[in-house]
C-alpha cells in the first residue's frame, strides 16, 4: 500500500512541473513570423502594410503553436493574448508617432529666432513669424484660466462640501452636459452674446477667452471634484473636532491637502483649451500685426494662425506652409510643457510622508 503510493507520487513534489520556452524564444518566433510575412507580401509585389499584417498574424500564430506544443494549453493562451494586446498597443502608437514625426520634421525648419521675434506685419513670402500669435495665445489662455479656475473650483467645492439633494444632482448633470458641448457652439455662444451689444462682425480677444471658458469650466469642475472627494472625511472631522468652522476647514485643511491634484487638474484643463481653433476662429479672428489688448480688436492665436497660413498661403505657398507646421510644433510643445508642469506640481505639492 505504502509502496504503490510512493510510486504514484510526482517526481518533483506536489507542484506540477512543465517545460517552459527559453526567454528569447517567443521573440525569435515572432520575428520568424514577420520574416515569413515579408516573404508572403513579396510574392504579390512588396508593401509595408501587407508585411506588417501578414507578419503579425503569422508571428502570433507561430508563438501560439509552438507554445501549445511545448508548454501546454494554459501558457500558450497566455502568450496568444500577450501577442494580441501588444500588437493593439503598437497599432495605437502608429498615428501618435507618425504625427509627432511629421510635425517635427516639417516644423523644425522654421523653428528659429526669427519665428519668435517677428509678426506677420508686412510679410509676403519668406520670413515672418508667430510672435503675435504666441503671445496672443498666452494672453487669451491666461484670461480663460483667470475666469474658469475660480468658477470651476468654487463649483467643485460646493458640490463636494455643501451640495445636497436635487440642486447638486442638477449641477452635476449640467456640468456633464457642458463637457459635451462642441467647441464651435461655445464660439457661437460668445459671438452671439457680444453681437447683441456691439453689433455683428465684432471680434475681440475677450470673446475668445469667454468661449474657451465655456469649454474649460466643466473640465476644472470635474477634475477638482474628483480630487476633493479623495480628501479623507477623517481630516475634516479632525478639524471640526478642534472647533474649526466649516469654511476654515475647507480653506486650511481640505484645499491644502488636495492642492497638488487641483493644480494638476487646472494645468491639464489649460492644456485642453490652448489648442482650440474653431471658437477662436469666429470670436477672435486673425491679424498680421501684434495686438495684445484683449478688449480692442482682433488678435492672433497659434491655432488660428496655423489654420490661415495653411488655407491662405499666398504665393509662393511653401513659406506659409512651413510657418503653419512650426506653429503646430510650438503648440504641441506648449501642451507638452503644461503636462510636465502638471506632473511636477503634483510631485512637489504632494503631502510629504518622509520619516
Amino acid at each position: 500500500m505504502t509502496a504503490t503510493r510512493q510510486e504514484a507520487a510526482p517526481a518533483h513534489g506536489v507542484v506540477e512541473h512543465s517545460r517552459r520556452l527559453a526567454r528569447p524564444a517567443p521573440w525569435g518566433l515572432f520575428a520568424l513570423g514577420l520574416l515569413l510575412g515579408a516573404a508572403l507580401s513579396a510574392l504579390t509585389g512588396f508593401s509595408v502594410v501587407l508585411t506588417v499584417v501578414y507578419g503579425v498574424a503569422l508571428g502570433t500564430l507561430a508563438v501560439y503553436a509552438v507554445s501549445r506544443a511545448v508548454e501546454g494549453r494554459r501558457t500558450s493562451f497566455d502568450r496568444l493574448v500577450t501577442c494580441i494586446v501588444t500588437s493593439a498597443f503598437a497599432l495605437a502608437m502608429v498615428p501618435l508617432v507618425s504625427l509627432v514625426w511629421t510635425v517635427l520634421s516639417r516644423g523644425l525648419k522654421r523653428l528659429d529666432g526669427d519665428f519668435f521675434n517677428s509678426s506677420m506685419l508686412g510679410i509676403v513670402g519668406e520670413g515672418g513669424g508667430a510672435y503675435h500669435a504666441i503671445f496672443g495665445t498666452l494672453v487669451i489662455t491666461g484670461i480663460t484660466a483667470v475666469i474658469s479656475v475660480p468658477i470651476g473650483l468654487l463649483t467643485a467645492i460646493y458640490l463636494v462640501e455643501y451640495g445636497t439633494g436635487r440642486l447638486k444632482r442638477w449641477i452635476t448633470f449640467l456640468v456633464d452636459v457642458m463637457t459635451g458641448i462642441p467647441s464651435i457652439v461655445a464660439g457661437l455662444f460668445a459671438y452671439a452674446l457680444f453681437a447683441l451689444f456691439f453689433g455683428p462682425g465684432i471680434r475681440l480677444g475677450i470673446m475668445g477667452a469667454i468661449a474657451l471658458s465655456v469649454l474649460m469650466i466643466p473640465v476644472v469642475v470635474r477634475s477638482s471634484e474628483e480630487v476633493l472627494k479623495l480628501v479623507p472625511t477623517e481630516l475634516r472631522e479632525a478639524s471640526y473636532a478642534l472647533g474649526v468652522p466649516k469654511w476654515r476647514t475647507i480653506l486650511k485643511v481640505v484645499v491644502p491637502t488636495a492642492i497638488a491634484g487641483l493644480a494638476t487638474g487646472v494645468t491639464l484643463a489649460v492644456a485642453r483649451v490652448i489648442g482650440e481653433t474653431a471658437p477662436l476662429l469666429i470670436t477672435v479672428g486673425i491679424i498680421n500685426g501684434t495686438n495684445l489688448d484683449p478688449f480692442q480688436g482682433r488678435m492672433a492665436t497659434l491655432p488660428v494662425f496655423a489654420y490661415y497660413q495653411l488655407t491662405q498661403p499666398g504665393f509662393p505657398p511653401e513659406f506659409a506652409i512651413d510657418r503653419a507646421w512650426t506653429a503646430a510644433l510650438i503648440l504641441i510643445i506648449l501642451v507638452m510643457a503644461l503636462n510636465i508642469v502638471g506632473r511636477l506640481i503634483s510631485r512637489f505639492f504632494a503631502p510629504k510622508t518622509g520619516r
Binding site: 475634516r236 479632525a238 478639524s239 486650511k252 491637502t257 503631502p351 510629504k352 518622509g354
Partner: protein, 259 residues
C-alpha cells in the same frame, strides 16, 4: 476645567432612522467613563452626539438634552463650532493633517482658529501639549518633519496632543487604541490616567480589559435586534459592571456568552 455631563432622554437619528434611543446618564468630572457594547449598537454615535460631531453627517439629528455644567449643548442659541472647542475628540484611526509638520499639527487648533499668539507662547504650548501626550521626548528633534512620518502609536498620541492643545473641558475618545499594538495601547492608557486629572474623559472601546483597567464608570450599550435602535442597558461603576452587574445582558456580554 473638567466638567460634568448630564444626558437625559437622548434620541439620536440618522434621517428617519432612530439609531440610539432614550439614553439618560450622568458623567462625573475628572473621571474616565468607558462605553462598551457590540458593533453597531450606537456607542460611537452617542459619543459623537456629545460634541455635536454627529450632525456633520447629512440628515443626522438629535432629540433630548445634553447638559454640561448647566448649559444645554443643543439649545437654540448654541453654536456647534463653539461646543467642539470645549469638547475635544480623538478618533479611531490616527488622522494628523498630512500637509502639516508635527509642530503645526499640535498648533493646528489655534492656527486654524486664527487665534494670534506670540511665537514663544506657541512654542511653550506645543511643548506642553506634546509632553502631556508623552510624545515630547520622541519628537523634540524633528518638530518640523511631517506628522505622517510617525508610527501609528505616535500619530495617535500626536492627535491627543493636538486635541489637548486647545484646552478642552472634556475629551472624547472613539476606540483610540483599536488600530494600535499592545505597547502603544499601554502608552495611551497610561496617558489617559494622567489626563483625567485635568479632563473629563469618555472612551468607546471594544477591549473590555481596557475598560476595566482605565475607567471608573462603564456604560453597556446593546440593541434589541437588527434594525432596532441601540440603548443604554446599564451604567454603573466599572467595578460593579465587571463583578456583579445588575442586568443579565451585561453579564452575558462581558463573560462572552453573547455574540
Amino acid at each position: 476645567m473638567a466638567k460634568r455631563i448630564d444626558v437625559s432622554d437622548l434620541d439620536i437619528y440618522y434621517g428617519n432612522f432612530l439609531a440610539v434611543q432614550g439614553v439618560t446618564v450622568s458623567i462625573e468630572p475628572r473621571t474616565i467613563t468607558a462605553l462598551i457594547g457590540p458593533s453597531g449598537c450606537g456607542k460611537s454615535t452617542f459619543l459623537r452626539s456629545l460634541n455635536r460631531m454627529h450632525e456633520v453627517i447629512p440628515g443626522a439629528r438629535v432629540e433630548g438634552k445634553v447638559v454640561i455644567d448647566g448649559q444645554d449643548l443643543y439649545g437654540a442659541d448654541v453654536d456647534p463650532v463653539d461646543v467642539r472647542r470645549h469638547i475635544g475628540m480623538v478618533f479611531q484611526r490616527p488622522n494628523p493633517f498630512p500637509t502639516m509638520s508635527i509642530y503645526d499639527n499640535v498648533a493646528a487648533g489655534l492656527r486654524l482658529n486664527a487665534r494670534k499668539m506670540k511665537k514663544a507662547d506657541l512654542d511653550d504650548l506645543v511643548e506642553r501639549s506634546l509632553r502631556g501626550a508623552n510624545l515630547w521626548n520622541e519628537v523634540k528633534d524633528r518638530l518640523n518633519r511631517p506628522g505622517s512620518g510617525l508610527s501609528g502609536g505616535q500619530q495617535q498620541r500626536l492627535c491627543i496632543a493636538r486635541a489637548i492643545a486647545v484646552e478642552p473641558d472634556v475629551l472624547l475618545m472613539d476606540e483610540p487604541c483599536s488600530a494600535l499594538d499592545p505597547i502603544s495601547t499601554l502608552a495611551i492608557e497610561d496617558l489617559m490616567t494622567e489626563l483625567k486629572e485635568r479632563f473629563t474623559i469618555v472612551i468607546v472601546t471594544h477591549n473590555m480589559q481596557q475598560a476595566a483597567r482605565v475607567s471608573e464608570s462603564t456604560g453597556f450599550f446593546n440593541l434589541a435586534g437588527v434594525g432596532q435602535p441601540g440603548h443604554l442597558v446599564e451604567f454603573n461603576s466599572t467595578e460593579k459592571i465587571f463583578s456583579n452587574p445588575d442586568e443579565k445582558a451585561t453579564e452575558d456580554y462581558i463573560s462572552g456568552r453573547f455574540g
